[in-house]
């Protein structure tokens, strides 16, 4: 019996089995993993067979009683891959592999039998994503282009097709089955990864919106997948400047990270903290950096943690110039993280709140009064306009362009902003040269104020079931 006949016979036996068992077996029979022993033997058999002959062979098998044309196309595509696969060249083989996944994705619209392909689909997605990414990135360098990912783009379309086909299926009770949910979740994660790879970030919103309406049961999803999904959700919201949603999702990832394996713990936590720390500052929370160093099992101070230590210190002191200087000195990192402008713009008001608080500690209010003149002096010291040249005319870092701009109007505007945002309890006096502040709780705790200021998007609540 030829290898091809053996191959067909195995498939016939497999598709007679119950769905779950069949899915696991088909995954092995249709594997594209070059380490699989049946591939080289099958390749020898197929060497002299034309496309028409292969198609005829498959058609003659009448898989599923000839009732599933797409499955036949999938098998033909797979055999063509096996015939032409070059184990020494990903570049020569990758398009063949993509074609097989494409055929599989199209096959998933068959309500009766689509679950037979779950195991194979998962196997293909896990195998192909790194290979496709590798090919596109290498060709990008060779062809000296900035942003051109044709195969990743094609994969994203294929995965989206698979997602939509599976999503539309329902079991006899009208529900989405457990296996369906697990596959949909994995597809969602992989598709989002690819959208990030090819810089089509907004398309991640399609995935998130679709997931939100599917009524999935988060309890059945393994933590490793939940962490990846919620990380992508957090990162997406971070880039969209929805920092409270980003903080909630990323904090969940940190809290549920696996802690037993030290290397895994460190690298994966770094990834989460990269976005979590700046998010936390912007939504009014300061992390305990010593605890974070412990979590990273760091014998010495971890560079990511130490990056933020001076920033947090200047922020708490209300030292505007040093805060801006630190961001300026590390501008390229914060720019690449897409967080430079949010840190500059959103933390400014907190800088001033902390400065005024420090002033009130040094010069306690007399008759509950803070004088404009003292506030002006504090602003001169903090902003240091005579050092503006340090920022080389980069206006993002300049509060004022010269000292004379720190006048009564400036102070009045600043104090009204702080009072209006509930960061100081007080009021302006009519003569506009004093602020009357509350005797108690003059400077309310920032986390308390910000917890009401930032709403959390409730459409992701299903993840916390």
């Amino acid at each position: 019996m030829s290898q091809l006949e053996i191959f067909f016979k195995k498939i016939h036996s497999t598709i007679r089995l119950p769905e779950k068992e069949a899915s696991e077996l088909l995954k092995k029979q249709l594997t594209m993993n070059p380490k699989s022993p049946h591939l080289p033997k099958l390749q020898v058999d197929l060497q002299n067979q034309s496309e028409q002959t292969i198609s005829k062979f498959v058609q003659d098998q009448q898989f599923f009683g000839g009732d599933w044309a797409r499955f036949e196309s999938l098998i033909v595509s797979y055999l063509k891959f096996v015939r032409n696969f070059d184990p020494w060249s990903i570049l020569k083989s990758i398009d063949l592999m993509i074609n097989v996944v494409d055929e599989l994705a199209s096959s998933l619209n068959k309500q009766q039998h689509y679950k037979y392909l779950f195991g194979t689909l998962v196997d293909y997605v896990i195998l192909l994503h790194p290979l496709v990414k590798l090919v596109d990135k290498k060709l990008l360098i060779i062809k000296k282009r900035n942003s051109y990912y044709p195969r990743l783009t094609q994969m994203s379309t294929i995965l989206q097709k698979a997602f939509n086909n599976i999503r539309n299926q329902r079991d006899p009770t009208g529900q989405i089955s457990r296996d369906q949910q697990l596959v949909l979740f994995l597809l969602g994660i992989k598709t989002c990864y690819i959208y990030f790879n090819i810089n089509h970030l907004l398309r991640c919103n399609d995935i998130f919106s679709n997931m939100n309406v599917l009524n999935l049961d988060a309890k059945i999803i393994p933590k490793s997948q939940l962490i990846q999904y919620r990380f992508l959700l957090g990162k997406f919201n971070f880039i969209q400047n929805n920092f409270m949603t980003a903080f909630v999702q990323l904090n969940w990832c940190l809290n549920n990270a696996y802690i037993n394996n030290t290397n895994h713990r460190t690298k994966n936590m770094e990834l989460i903290l990269k976005y979590l720390i700046p998010s936390s500052l912007i939504v009014g929370k300061i992390p305990n950096l010593n605890i974070l160093n412990q979590l990273l099992s760091s014998q010495e101070a971890h560079p990511l943690i130490e990056l933020y230590r001076p920033l947090i210190s200047t922020l708490k002191k209300g030292n505007v110039f040093e805060f801006h200087k630190y961001l300026f000195d590390n501008e390229s990192y914060f720019l690449k993280m897409n967080v430079l402008l949010p840190l500059l713009q959103r933390l400014r008001i907190l800088l001033f709140r902390n400065l005024v608080r420090k002033l009130a500690l040094i010069e306690p209010p007399v008759n509950n009064s803070l004088r404009f003149s003292s506030i002006k002096t504090a602003l001169f010291v903090s902003i240091s306009p005579n050092q503006n040249a340090y920022f080389q005319n980069n206006y993002s870092y300049l509060i004022v362009t010269n000292e004379s701009q720190i006048d009564d109007s400036f102070v009045e505007n600043l104090m009204i902003s702080l009072i209006d945002q509930n960061l100081i309890k007080g009021k302006l006096v009519n003569d506009n040269h004093r602020i009357i502040v509350s005797k108690a709780d003059t400077f309310p705790e920032i986390p308390t104020i910000y917890s009401t200021k930032f709403a959390v998007d409730s459409s992701f609540d299903w993840l916390d079931q």
Partner: protein, 74 residues
């Protein structure tokens, strides 16, 4: 170390963090809650205060001095 060199060094150190944001392979696919950070009881991770009560740092000393100078001029 000059400011320029300092910035360059910091940028080099952090370069490794800018690679593709994909997780290292998980050693297991799922794990119970007692194998997570929450189990290590890090409730105070986000409890740090925004209030800086250090009065002996350079900035605070400079501020105090300038306020005293301004008061003396009146």
């Amino acid at each position: 170390m000059s400011t320029e060199n300092k910035a360059e060094t910091k940028q080099t150190n952090f370069k490794a963090l800018e690679e593709d944001d994909e997780f290292e392979d998980f050693p297991v696919q799922d794990w119970p809650n007692d194998k997570t950070i929450t189990a290590e009881k890090q409730e105070h991770l986000w409890d740090e205060s925004w209030n800086d009560d250090d009065n002996e740092d350079d900035f605070t000393k400079r501020l105090r001095q300038e306020l005293a100078n301004a008061e003396a001029k009146k």
